[in-house]
């Protein structure tokens, strides 16, 4: 079986516009949560989010190309450009023909749809913009990445709410591991800050009125985020042979469905996904040195995830750092699993465990070492990155530091 190396990484989110800026921010415990500026928030019960500050399609895309791309697709291409430049693959016609592109997105270009539908519903016009469909489709990120690089292999998008990117990366990992693809560009992107989508989140009453405090007793919910992270995966031996820089290795992927409730998480389902990832990686729980938690900061998720971690790791939990970087980059929905996979890669690569920011007070129902507020220097060999979606669809990635 082929070992799979991560040779390229790219990111854009509230914390920064490159993977290096992202790494520096999470390693210093800086939270990028603040007032939402791209939408009029005067009629909302919440005000804060984690937006890419002052984002404009320039200098990334000329005006005409940007006309064809929703913000979420722009983020996908920006992160993919960085990841591909970082990996610098030895492109051949065969490699371009067979490389895979697998992206995750939850809401796709619904911001474009939201604006288009205002025309007919609110302004009483009889037509919407003709690019509404191609900008809205959730696969637009994958499509634009394929056009950007002339990559013509298997390309598709996975939409499993908050697990989308983790499912996408897991699928890409398995395709490279099995030999089905010689290289994969994979990750997730999201841009959910438009009026209608924010109203829908407000109605669920899960968004915090101040900030995101995962696992803290005084937590009041999640904070929405946006952005993208993309990775380049290739066979480890091929990457070594061409002298590529290797950030980390993906060693396992596990999935499960709760089969219980459309929004309430199940600890049992989450535990099964973590066990599946360990089994796929042929690892024992004792070998895991860090978990990047799903850690949304909602009352329900954090209790359920803590119970799941206790169920899988038992007494090992006392010495197992678990942090939620959503406290810094927000919950980027279909991009969350990719940003958090990158956070896990940074932890393994740089030997710095990112903290759970905004943490005030331990919760007895979340009895974990959450690396509160300050990053911790630690050399860890193996990490898990957890993603648990609404709808009970769970995806967990297992990663290994390259120093070993």
């Amino acid at each position: 079986m082929v070992r799979v190396a991560i040779t390229g990484a790219g990111a854009i989110c509230a914390l920064g516009r490159t993977a290096a800026e992202f790494a520096a921010a999470i390693s210093s415990g800086r939270s990028a949560i603040g007032p939402i500026r791209s939408t009029d928030m005067s009629e909302f019960r919440f005000q804060n989010g984690a937006e890419v500050p002052d984002y404009s399609h320039t200098p990334y895309f000329d005006d005409r190309r940007a006309d064809f791309m929703d913000r979420f697709a722009q983020f996908a291409v920006i992160a993919a450009r960085e990841a591909v430049a970082d990996a610098a693959p030895a492109w051949t016609p065969e490699l371009r023909e067979n490389a895979a592109i697998i992206t995750g997105s939850c809401v796709g270009g619904q911001s474009t749809e939201d604006i288009g539908f205002q025309e007919v519903y609110k302004h009483g016009r009889n037509r919407v913009h003709p690019l509404t469909i191609p900008k809205t489709m959730a696969n637009a990120g994958a499509s634009h990445i394929s056009m950007e690089f002339g990559v013509t292999g298997p390309s598709f998008t996975i939409s499993t709410a908050c697990s989308s990117a983790a499912h996408a990366i897991g699928q890409a990992y398995w395709m490279v591991r099995s030999g089905a693809a010689p290289l994969a560009i994979t990750g997730g992107s999201e841009a959910p800050f438009s009026f209608g989508i924010l109203k829908a989140w407000e109605a669920m009453r899960v968004v915090s009125p101040d900030t995101c405090r995962p696992f803290s007793k005084d937590r009041h919910g999640m904070i929405l985020g946006e952005g993208a992270a993309m990775l380049v995966l290739e066979p480890l031996e091929a990457a070594r042979a061409r002298g590529a820089h290797i950030h980390a290795e993906i060693v396992g992927f596990g999935m499960s469905a709760d089969a219980s409730h459309i929004t309430q998480p199940s600890a049992e389902g989450a535990a099964r996904a973590m066990r599946a990832a360990l089994r796929d990686a042929a690892l024992s729980p004792e070998q895991i040195g860090y978990i990047n938690a799903h850690g949304t900061g909602t009352l329900a998720n954090d209790i359920s995830e803590s119970a799941a971690i206790h169920a899988v790791f038992g007494s090992r939990v006392k010495n197992l750092p678990v942090s939620s970087t959503k406290s810094m980059h927000g919950h980027a929905l279909g991009a969350a699993g990719a940003l958090e996979c990158l956070a896990s890669i940074v932890a393994l690569r740089d030997g710095i465990l990112p903290p759970t920011a905004n943490f005030n007070e331990p919760d007895p129902e979340c009895d974990l070492d959450v690396v509160p507020n300050h990053a911790r220097a630690a050399r860890v060999e193996y990490a898990l990155s957890n993603s648990f979606a609404f709808g009970g669809l769970n995806a967990v990635l297992a990663l290994r530091a390259m120093a070993y």
């Binding site: 019960r45 109605a203 669920m204 009453r205 009041h220 409730h261 459309i262 329900a300």
Partner: protein, 88 residues
């Protein structure tokens, strides 16, 4: 708290949860009615429409039964009648 208000709240709960109206009383608690967190936010949405009010998040966290819910609606209706809505 008027009987009319109570009857409207009971009807909203029964309609939203799709259970027979006679199963919901002022003394029911949410656990008895098998109302989970998603049911609860749907009921709050329906109550906001029924009474033309906005129910703040922090007003609902401690509500566990129908009586508390009716009392909360009654207070919000009184506030609404007595002036501009409170800043949330």
């Amino acid at each position: 708290m008027s009987d009319d208000l109570i009857q409207r709240v009971l009807k909203v709960i029964a309609t939203s949860k799709r259970i027979p109206p006679e199963t919901v009383t002022i003394d029911s608690d949410f656990a008895q009615l098998n109302i989970d967190s998603m049911d609860a936010v749907e009921i709050l949405f329906a109550l906001e429409n029924e009474f033309d009010i906005s129910i703040p998040d922090d007003a609902v966290r401690a509500v566990r039964n129908v009586r508390q819910m009716c009392e909360g609606i009654d207070k919000l209706m009184t506030d609404k009648a007595s002036g501009p809505p409170a800043v949330q």
